[in-house]
């Protein structure tokens, strides 16, 4: 099964192996006809309606604004409904450096997102700490505190790269299974178990 989106040939994608492994997993677990087609419908909806959370800390955020503007126009894909409230957003683009003081806030925002929720680590800082990784106050990648779905490199990534990253996410959503099995929920639960919030004050 070739998982692709409109007007993008399958061969042009990178990381096809990863998606294929997900597809194989999907096939191996076997699906019942009714549930399978229901899954297709749900995945069609989800993958075509990814609403971002307006969240940015630094330079990547400005490129994210540029992504919404006329030249790159993410509205074409239906991603322009940027919600300010995490309850209504689908994915969180961690655009910019995450520092120690911000970490609990980011984690809380993630916890506030409604399922299904996804994370894109956007830019060098969010991936690994980038140029600031030696600093005493910078996280070495947002992967330390959140389960990341897609990494988008660059400093800051060009809007084209961001489009590609969100399209990859949309492709990943397409091979999910709503009723158990192939979805990232298991990994997510495991991750959150390993990265507990030490004590909840609120």
């Amino acid at each position: 099964m070739e998982v692709t989106t409109k007007s993008m040939p399958y061969e042009d994608w990178k990381d096809n192996e990863y998606i294929e492994s997900l597809v194989n997993e999907l096939k191996a677990s076997g699906t019942n006809v009714i549930v399978g087609s229901l899954d297709k419908l749900i995945n069609w909806g989800r993958s075509n309606s990814l609403w971002p959370l307006t969240f940015a800390t630094s330079c990547c955020g400005i490129e994210f604004i540029a992504l919404g503007a006329a030249r790159y126009d993410m509205a074409r894909f239906g991603w322009e409904v940027a919600r300010s409230s995490p309850r209504q957003a689908d994915f969180m683009m961690v655009a910019g450096t995450i520092v120690h003081r911000m970490a609990p806030v980011v984690r809380r925002l993630y916890d506030q997102l409604a399922e299904p929720k996804y994370v894109i680590a956007c830019g060098g800082c969010a991936i690994s700490g980038g140029p600031f990784k030696n600093s005493y106050h910078v996280l070495k990648g947002v992967g330390e505190i959140l389960p990341v779905d897609v990494y988008c490199p660059g400093c800051p990534p060009r809007p084209e790269a961001m489009i590609y990253a969100i399209m990859q996410l949309s492709r990943k959503v397409k091979v999910e299974k709503f009723f158990g099995g192939v979805n990232r929920k298991e990994n997510q639960k495991e991750f959150l178990k390993n990265h507990p919030i030490s004590e909840t004050t609120n």
């Binding site: 749900i42 509205a75 239906g78």
Partner: protein, 360 residues
Amino acid sequence: MQDLSFITHWIDNLFRVVLGCPDWLTVTLECVLLGVALLLVYAVLALFYIWFERKVCAAFQCRLGPNRVGPFGVLQPFADMFKMLIKELISLNHVDKFLFALAPFLVIVASMMAFAVLPWGNGLQAVDFNIGIFFLLAVSSIGVLGILLAGWSSNNKFTLIGALRSGAQMVSYEISISLSVITMVVLSGTMSVQGIVHAQDHCWFIFSGHIPAIIAFLVYVIAGTAETNRGPFDLPEAESELTAGYHTEYSGMHFGFFYLAEYLNLFIVGGVAALLFFGGWMPLHIPGWDGFNHVMNYIPSVIWFLGKAVVITFVMIWFKWTFPRLRIDQLLSFEWKYLMPISLVNLVLMTLVVVFGLYI
């Protein structure tokens, strides 16, 4: 003008005569049918407006807007809806659970009830009350209760401020809306929705009602935009100030209800404006031009009604994407110091016009 009531008569006939149902069963079945039909139209219209607004604002902003999902992106709102239907409904700890869950339903029920009395076409209307327009005003004000409850029960300071703003705003602007509606009722002499449409048989009120009708129309469109909480009056959900206003804490389909209701209220305001000022489903008739009037009659009444509503709502979408947002004190002083006195004076003017028979 083709009378579309033959459809309803045919269905009624089907149940009573062909299937031989008793009276109570017929009424029940017809109610269910009607409810389903209205819900369907409601959903489709809301989705259409979501798409329409996204496309229109994209055009204003030199962008393309949704174009990937389906031709011209028409399937985009459907994808959004499917996603929203199965998105998690977060249950919060420190909220008033019952009111929190009730609020979105109040909002959507209010807009559905208002929706039900709109005159869709010649002979196409759920109920034709003798106080139809009054009923419409009454039910549409239930919405503000839902919004207040949503903001209050969320136990969040942003939602509370949003709800209070919304309460103040909607209650104030309701006055102007009612006054301009009453102005037109004075002209038509009836409160029945179909009666108002038929009163515009020869000429739409906006043309026949002289200056008071035009003033009433302007007041109505401004107040209607405020009533739907849309820009430049979108303070209750002012993104840059209050995150998402009164529905900040709502997720999934609960939020979806607010989202749908917002767009449907837009349509209702457009529809009522079409009804009061542009003849509802009545085709454009120019006295004396019989040939022209005859041609106009061939266009189905449903299309006339929808077309007028869409054009008026387009203007309201235009407002939203052009003007900056007002501040709460400016918003209220605009209503109480300008709009309301103007509509009161306008009501007197209209009465004079009617008394002296100055209308066409």
